[in-house]
Every structure is written in structure tokens, then in C-alpha cells.
Subunit: 296 residues, 2 copies
């Protein structure tokens, strides 16, 4: 089984090429691959499969040639990932599987347009960002006011005055709105929305840290960066018509650029391929294989 | 630059073949490779180089063909690693670089004999284990009595009655002996010895967790398993002649077998190769390379 490993602002992926949809990639194998000590290690797996060969009803109507079959590190299916789709696009281009600089990628959240820039950056259309209303979070005993925002998934984006590094984001609790906090009782230990803390650090420039629902503190989150830019744009009085101008968002894993919009938010950032290779067949088989003794 | 990734009981390594010692592998590149989000991710790098081509005075007198040039994840040099040398041996055998089942590996701590078993297990001669005397540790406010043991590096091995999973090993403080605790003041936040907590769970069978000096909680530690077996052997009244019988040591990353000895302790455990491949040249160059646009 061939693979590549890549990352976008520290959000890392094992890419598995399977153009004709012939691979058996059960959740157990995805979880083994993503294990950071006994596997290759990654935040998720991106299977590269032709949309027509994917055999998934979710993408049956999409016309993009390639489908990003995104799996979480625990093996479960995921819809979209703003950092992952850049890495996916970079892989397609580097391998000659797609022509650039414009391409489209099928995902479980619908087709995404991607634009490759000559300097190695990629811009992704992240779709609509919608301001839901005011909200609040308890971050390590500190109450933070924020905005509830949907970028396909729920975010609670909190502008703060202090350095974001000093805020306890280990286990934030969403206090409001109720629909964001509602599921916390069902899932003890999990927050019910992605929580961002954002500080303005310059003209249209912000720093952000994020606690991702189900993943905890991460180095980067594409939809989180969009939510942060929306919150910053609202605070700057720019969101009156549902659009913002371009914002630079510094995340722990690097720098992203976001132009938020109620119809088509644009996320720009780097995507790197670290390595390519082949998984050991005996390791995939899950057994400690006999040692290849060479009696020379 | 070619690589393999392997692990032994969850202690994982990127293996870099460099038979003729031609590679430039500065500490910065090792650290980038070992980064678990923006690199391949590993506890360390094992460079595979012919002893004669290594150009290291530490190994100049050793007659083993292959030198395990072991680097910590931060890029610094390291002497030996009981889990690493098994993975190193497995790589040599799988690649046909050495004949088995017996082989020798040059390390900065001296030559190590390794025996490959047909079932994929490897036995390594870990050298002498020496009981220094009684000691004590503060583990999250709980005072634990233990034995100070040297396995080339310092260990404080504490037999406990409770499940080892429940003991706070996040930042143990060595209370005694003084020579093990001495450097703590110089290195705030670092413990001055490896600390093991060990519970007997059966006949010559123990479970162990370890806090490694400079690395924190890890899934496995080869010298720690030897120290654990010594402490268990002493408690069983077996150490009167400086040898113990065979002990099974369960670590979070798997199972090891140890026959401790004041002259030549034997450590047996698995070693797996997960994948082989090639690092991206543009990633090594450390820059975001231009995207390979394919105008088909």
C-alpha cells in the first residue's frame, strides 16, 4: 500500500492513493496508520479515489474527478477539512493526477474549488460562514464572551485582549448558546463546539488558538480560522453585508489568510508533502512477521 | 533521502540508511524529521552507517560492521536504546545488510550482541545492571520507596502495591539518593533519573510505567524494563549473586522479557518495520517548494 505524508500548518495527514477504489481501508487500519507511536502517525487519512469509483452516495452527483475520502484518526468518516483539502490538492498536482492551477475536489460536504499559487500556497473555497449570535465559554474558570458561528460545523469564536497563549483551552465548556452547549451532557469530556480564542495583533491580523471538538488542542483548524476571521470582521464593523476583507490568522502551526464571507469564504495557506513510500505488508497484516534472515 | 519507520513496543524511530557515511544529517534536520506534526514523527532517528565510515572516535575500535548512530528527537546524540537496537537489527536483516540470527551492533555505549528469533522477537545484551542502593521518589505528592539502579543510565525503580496506571508520574521528583536528585536544581522541570513504578502481577511478571529523564512519560523504555526486573528480582530474593531469572515486564506499549544480570542483562522484545520510503527533497530543503503544476 503506497502512501504520502503531508501537512498544512501542522495539521498532518497520511495520503493513500487508491485511484480505482480497490483498497480495503477499514477504520481499524486507519486508526493503526494514524497511531503516532506504532503507526505512521497523523491527524487523519486522505484516501485519493476517483469520484466515479468511490461508491459513496454522498458524492455520486459531484463532477470533480477526485474525491477526498477523509477519515479521522480514530477511523471514523469525516466531511471536510480546510487544511486537508490543500494537502490533497498538492498531492494531486505533484503526482500529475490533476492539472492546475484551478481544480475541484469532491468531498462529503460538497465540491470544493482549490487554486494553487506558484509560491506553494493554496486557496480553498470553504463555503458559507454564518453568524448565529452571541455565545459564551468557560475556559479554565474564565468566562469569555464570543460569537457562535457556523462554517458547516459549529464554532464559538471569542475575541480576547490578552495573549491567547495564556488561556486555558484544555477543556472549554460552552455556556451559550444552548444549541451549542446542548450535547455536552451527552458526551462528557467533549465540548460541543470548536472553541477559538482570538486576539487582534495588527491591522487585519489576529492570533488564534483552537480547541477542536473531539480532538482537543490542535496546531491549526481551517474552519476555525474562518470563524476567527468572521469574529474579527464583526468586531471591526466589516460584516454588515456578510463579507469581510482579507485577514491574516496566526495559528500555532503557521499562518493562514482568510477572506470570510456569508456565501464563499476563502482560506489560503501552505501545503507540504513530507515523504512518500510504501507501508510494510507484514505490518498491515497486523502480525509480527518472521524476520527476513539473510544467510549470506 | 531514503527512510524506514519502525517501532519496538511503541518506542518509534525513523531509520535513515547511510551505509557509506555520505549524508549530512544535522541536528536541525533530525528535529524536523522527528516532529510529529510537520515531519515524519518519531522518538528518535537511527542512522545506519558502516562503523568504518562513521568517522566517530567513540566507535573507532568496534568491530561490528554497522554503527547505530542514534539521535534523540531534539537532534542531540544519544548512546544506546534497548528498543532502538532491536529495530535497528530488524532493519539490517530485512534489508539484507546483515546475516542472522546473531549479529553485533556498534553503539556509542559499546558493541551490543543481538539475537533474532524466528517469531520476530529480538534479544539484546544490555550490559551490566548495578544496584546502587535505596532511594525514594515524590510522585504527585505520594512518597514511593525504591531502588537506585544503574543500567548505564540512572534509574529509580519503585515497587508498588497499587495499579501503576493510577500513579501520577507526570513529574516525579527524586528525593534520594542525593547523586540522583542532585541535578534537579540545575534542570528545573527535569527529573534527574528515569523513574519506574512496578507492580508484581504474577509469577515473575510485572507491570511498569516509566518517566524518562528528559522525555517524560513514554510507552516503553528498554533500560527501564531492565531496572524493573532488577528491582523485582531483589524483592524476590533472587539477586544475591547478581543475577535474576527471566521476568516478563508489561509496559504501556507492549511486553518485554528481561533476564537481569550484574554482568550481561538480556532484553527480549518485538521490533516492527512500519513503512519505507523517501523524504521529499523540497521538504528537506526546508522551503515551501513551487507547486508541480502539470498542464496536461
Amino acid at each position: 500500500m503506497r502512501f504520502a505524508k503531508g501537512h498544512g500548518t501542522g495539521n498532518d495527514f497520511v495520503i493513500i492513493p487508491d485511484p480505482d477504489g480497490l483498497l480495503d481501508l477499514p477504520g481499524e487500519l486507519v486508526a493503526r496508520i494514524c497511531d503516532r507511536h506504532t503507526g505512521l502517525g497523523a491527524d487523519g487519512v486522505l484516501r485519493v479515489v476517483r469520484t466515479a469509483a468511490a461508491g459513496e452516495s454522498d458524492v455520486a452527483g459531484q463532477r470533480a474527478e477526485w474525491f477526498m475520502d477523509y477519515r479521522n484518526a480514530d477511523g471514523s468518516l469525516a466531511e471536510m477539512c480546510g487544511n486537508g483539502v490543500r494537502v490533497f490538492a498538492r498531492y494531486l498536482l505533484d503526482e500529475g493526477l490533476a492539472a492546475g492551477p484551478e481544480l475541484r475536489v469532491a468531498t462529503r460536504a460538497g465540491e470544493r474549488a482549490v487554486l494553487a499559487h506558484p509560491d506553494g500556497q493554496f486557496t480553498v473555497d470553504m463555503g458559507a460562514a454564518v453568524v448565529i449570535g452571541p455565545g459564551a465559554v468557560d475556559a479554565g474558570g474564565q468566562r469569555l464572551a464570543g460569537l457562535a458561528i457556523s462554517v458547516g460545523n459549529p464554532h464559538l469564536a471569542c475575541l480576547v485582549e490578552q495573549s491567547v497563549a495564556g488561556i486555558d483551552l484544555a477543556g472549554p465548556q460552552v455556556l451559550a448558546p444552548a444549541e451549542f452547549a446542548g450535547s455536552a451532557a451527552d458526551s462528557p469530556g467533549l465540548v460541543s463546539a470548536n472553541v477559538e480564542v482570538i486576539r487582534l495583533v495588527g491591522d487585519h491580523e489576529a492570533e488564534m488558538r483552537v480547541h477542536e471538538r473531539g480532538s482537543g488542542l490542535t496546531l491549526s483548524c481551517g474552519t476555525g480560522a474562518v470563524a476567527a476571521a468572521v469574529a474579527a470582521a464583526v468586531a471591526a464593523g466589516e460584516w454588515t453585508d456578510g463579507t469581510g476583507s482579507a485577514w491574516t490568522v496566526h495559528v500555532p502551526g503557521g499562518r493562514l489568510a482568510v477572506t470570510p464571507s456569508a456565501t464563499a469564504s476563502l482560506l489560503t495557506g501552505p501545503a507540504e508533502i513530507i515523504a512518500t513510500g510504501e507501508l510494510s505488508a507484514s505490518w498491515i497484516a497486523g502480525c509480527v512477521a518472521p524476520v527476513g534472515l539473510n544467510m549470506r
